[in-house]
Structures are given as C-alpha cells and as structure tokens.
Amino acid sequence: MSITYLEAIREAQARALAEDPRVFIYGQDVGAFGGAFKATKNLAQEFPGRVIDAPISEDAIVGAAIGAAVEGMRPIIEMQFADFSTPGFNQIVNHAATLYWRTQVPCPITIRLPSGGTSGSGPFHSQSMETLYAHYPGLIVMTPATVEDAYSMLLEAVALDDPVIFCEHKLLYNHLKAESLPTEAVPVGKARLARPGRDMTIVAYSAMVHEALAVADELASEGTEVEIVDLRSIKPLDTDTVMASVARTGRLLCVGESWPWGGVTAEVVSRVACEGFGLLDAPPQRLNAKDTPVPYHPNLWAAHRPTARSIAAAARRLLRI
C-alpha cells in the first residue's frame, strides 16, 4: 500500500469526523464533489450532513466557523486556494485569533490552505501565506512537509483548542508518497531533523524540505554533509532544534518559498543571530522567492522560487566563506 500527501489529508479528516462528533467540514465544493483537489473525496457521502458546501463567501465561512467553535464545535475550513483566504483574512486575524485572549473562550478551528506554487498557476493560485498568519498573535501555523506530518499534524490541528492555519503544499499533493499512515508522531511545536550532517544546516519547511534534501544528496557526493531541519510548524517555531543544529554545524542557510521581505527566513535567521550568535562560524544566509508575484509561465516560475539548483549554489557559497 502507498498513500499520498493528499490522501493523508483526506484520511486525517475522515478520522477526525469519525472520532469526534464536534468536527465538521465547510468550504466551497467540499461536499459531494470532494473539493477542488479531492481532499474531501467521499467524505460527504461517508458523513452525511457534516461536509457542507459553502457559497463563495470566505469572510462568512470563517465567521461561521468562529461561531460554531464558540458553541463547542471543531470546524475544518477548506479554502479553495490559500490565495483566496484574503477575503476571509479579517475574520481569521481579528476575530478567530483574538477570541481566546479577549474572552478565555477557545476558538478551535482548522483552516486548510492549499498553498505554494505549481507550474502554470500564476499570481493568484500559488501563494504561500504562512508569514502573514504567523505575524498575528493567536494563531498556530503548520507547514507539513511529509505525508506523515500531513496526517498527524492535521489531526493535532483539529484537536488543539486554538485556530490553526494548516498550509498544505499543492506540489506535494500527488507526488509525495509514503508506505503507510503513521501511528505516532512528533508533537506540534517540534522541528524534525530531516537529515543529519555536520558541515552546515539548512532550515526549510513545506515543499522546500524536498529541494533541500536533494541538495544534501548532491553535496554528499562531494563529501559535504548537510544537516536539514524541517520546521514542521513555523509558529510556534522550534528555535531550540535549529540552534542545536547550528551549534553542531556552525553554518546556517534558511530557505523559504515565500517573498524575501520578512517571513520565515528572516525570523529564523534573526533568532539565530540574536540568541545563537556565538554558534555561527560564518554569516547566516537566506534564500527566498523573488520579490514579484508568482509568475504563470513555467520558465519564470522555476526561476522565481528557490530550487535544488539555487539552494545548492547558496550552500556552496556558504561553505566557502
């Protein structure tokens, strides 16, 4: 048996629905149709009345989820694309994220964002929005890079008492496969050592973990051992694991698929610079997408985001310093 990242997301939702009567799913085309990416395939049939098609009203979708959560439900919201969460942005950051702090009443909603670039998708179906949501207090932001994490973190997202932004990468949906679903998992908030190495640390998350792993393979054949830290969740961000890795390697390259101003790479690098300055044998480095919208054409798209190639170049440069 083999299971994809996308199937893992479906299975996690099926299990959450089966085990917890408080769970329901709400989003555009998630019902009988099974969702734009089929992440809710057959769930409406298996759980009648609990997987609900929404109008094209992201603000009201999130708003209703908040109200349901106040009443003790645990809604899972699917945005059709991460990019379309902007009309729901206000309810997410100003309502869901502030509710617990203001009232001590938890707001357990999970918002699934099909994220990240795929070739030919263009500026409005490719965005990585984790930075925006991580900036606001009151939200947890998960960025699973593996089939196992897609499954176990989504279950944990639903179980947590806080609003969770669940960034699932569209490029991994069907390409990434595992043998089976995990039976146990690293808890949310802990990063994962995706590959041990002693010469430098690459910190990555979501799809970029796989680009980084390819680089590690490549550099290994040249005798360089790259350690890869998969952040898993970017808020909370597991600074300890990052720091421990940098303590071993002395060199840090942080890679993100989002835009260069601010974001995960800025946060990771500045934490290490502030709190682990003495661990660094060389200046830390960042690699991000370019500072333009995500281009439509595959030629441009491939050059816009970091890839194994550009990561390898950055890694080699860092090793030379």
Partner: protein, 317 residues
C-alpha cells in the same frame, strides 16, 4: 431602556470627567429598538449587540457591573482590561463580544446557529444589530446570504439612524429602504418606527417568533435618528436640523414616557421613582467598578493561545 439611558449618561459624564480611557458610544435614541431585541430573546438564544445596544444588552441579561467594569477597565470585568467599552460579552452565555470591524458579527451568529443545528438544539434564535452604514460592508452581504442559504433562525436588526459617523445615508446606499434588500436574499423583512417602543416590541416579537418557528432569517429595519455624537468626542454638528425636528428625531424614551402617562399606566411620580432607582443602581455599579483593581501588567500572562505549551517565549529584557 431607562436603565440603559441612565447608564449611558453616567458613562458620558465619566468620559467628560476624564475617567474613561478611550471612546464612549451611546445608544441615545435607539433604546426602544434595542431593548425590544433583548426582551424578545430567551435564555439559550444568542445575541451579538453592537455599539448602541446598552438597552438590549441589559435586557438580554448583562449586569450593570459587567458594563461598568469594562468601561472602567476593572481587572474583574469579563474582558479584564484586555478589551474595553462596547467590546464585551460572555460567549459561553450566548452573549457575543463584538469586534470593531463592522459586519463581522453576523456570520459568527450564523455559526452558533449552525452549531445548534448540528447538536440538535432546537428553537433557539440568534439576533444581532447593525447600523445602516455597516450594511455597506461585504461581511454584511456574505453573512445574510449565508443565513438565507442555510435557512438559519437569524434576526438581523438594522438601525437606520441616518448617519454613519458623519456620513448621511444618501452617501451610503441608493435604495428606497434597506428593507428592499430582503427579497434579494430570500428573507423576510420587517420595518418599524424605531422611536415607538410598542411598535418595536411587537415587530421584534414577530420577527423573533418567525425565526424560532423555522421561517429562516428575519431582517428588521428601523427608522430613527442617532440622538448623540458618533462617540462622546463628537458634537454631531453635522446632523441636519430638519431631521432633528422631524418625527425621526423624537426621543424614544420620552415618547414611551408620554405614552405611559397618557394611557395612565404610570404617573409622573412612579416614573420619577424608576429614574431614581436606575440612578441608584448605576451609581452603585460604577462605584464598585471604580474601587476595583485595574489590570496588572506583571500578573498578565501575555498569552494569546489556549494551548499554553505552544506559546513562543521571546528573550526577556
């Protein structure tokens, strides 16, 4: 509504005395409408009031102390000084605390009603109030349409008080009456003169009843005039004097009192007694809140997550 007016006036005078941090927003002229909403709801219903709903809040069961504590920043209030003035509620009791972004509460009420449907809780309704200005928000539209599609027992009360801050309704919408919007959503509409308590009570009773009986969302549109500034910092000098002189400009409280007197349901002495009682209660609540501790930043846990183990710690300075 007398109690609400008295409380509002107390807040206004505390504001003038510099005793209140931030803004003060009154419901002056809107008490009849607001109280009619609160009175028609029952325990178990949901209520999401807005800035001019002191009367509805009290009628729904808010205590004077909750209101005073929030306005005065007592650490013992429901918002513990984290949020203030009209941004207060007790979600566990079906009393939702507004966020400032206009239109945002409607969909949240929808969500509570959806949850009840899931849980099989029947015959509860959710009511929320909004000004005519906020009908221009996308949130308003998405939420009322959502309620209509789900046929939720939502009562959406629109107080057309002629102004949104300084902006007259003519710059806000171009339809004859906002009630004309209802058919475009497939929901019921009710119009009412918001200066007449009796009319408000009966129209709200009907709207709430219809929602409870399963007839889907009910839109209530009230005509009235805001008899105060947008907030107490605002002298409202832009309000058209013709509106003030028109029937819309009548004070619903005075109208109600006149009614009581003319129908001989109460005499002047009784009413004066009620007023004294209201003042007394309000003074008591305010005095209590004023004596109470204000929030202590050193005791504050600065923690926005319910999952305490996932809170990030930042290097202390």
């Amino acid at each position: 509504m007398l109690l609400a007016r008295t409380l509002d006036e107390k807040f206004a005078s505390l504001y003038r005395a510099g005793k209140i941090h931030g803004g003060v927003f009154l419901g002056r002229g809107q008490e009849a409408l607001s109280v009619a909403v609160g009175l028609n709801l029952r325990k178990g219903d949901v209520f999401a009031p807005l800035i001019r709903d002191q009367a509805g809040r009290l009628a729904f069961g808010e205590t004077l102390l909750d209101a005073a504590r929030t306005y005065l920043g007592s650490a013992l209030g429901p918002m513990r000084g984290r949020d203030g003035n009209v941004h207060r509620g007790r979600p566990r009791e079906g009393y939702l605390p507004m966020i400032s972004h206009l239109g945002a509460m409607i969909a949240v009420v929808n969500g509570t009603l959806l949850a009840r449907r899931f849980k099989g809780v029947l015959r509860t309704v959710g009511a929320t109030c909004i000004g005519e200005g906020a009908t221009s928000t996308g949130s308003f539209h998405e939420a009322i349409n959502q309620a209509a599609v789900e046929k939720l027992p939502l009562v959406l009360v629109i107080a057309n008080n002629q102004y949104a801050y300084s902006t007259p309704s003519s710059r806000q919408f171009a339809c004859t009456s906002l009630a004309d919007r209802a058919s475009g959503y497939g929901v019921d509409a009710h119009s009412v003169d918001g200066t007449e308590l009796a009319a408000c009570l009966s129209v709200l009773a009907e709207a709430v009843e219809r929602a409870r009986e399963g007839h889907g969302p009910q839109m209530v549109v009230a005509r009235l005039l805001r008899l105060c500034g947008h907030g107490e910092h605002d002298d409202a000098s832009y309000v058209d004097p013709r509106l003030k002189a028109s029937p819309l400009g009548r004070d619903c409280l005075k109208v109600a009192e006149q009614n009581l007197l003319s129908r001989q349901w109460a005499d002047a002495v009784t009413i004066e007694g009620w007023r004294c009682e209201a003042v007394h209660k309000v003074e008591e609540a305010v005095a209590t809140a004023l004596r109470e501790p204000t929030p202590d930043p050193y005791k504050e846990n600065w923690c926005a997550l319910a999952s305490k183990h996932l809170v990030e710690t930042h290097p202390e300075v």
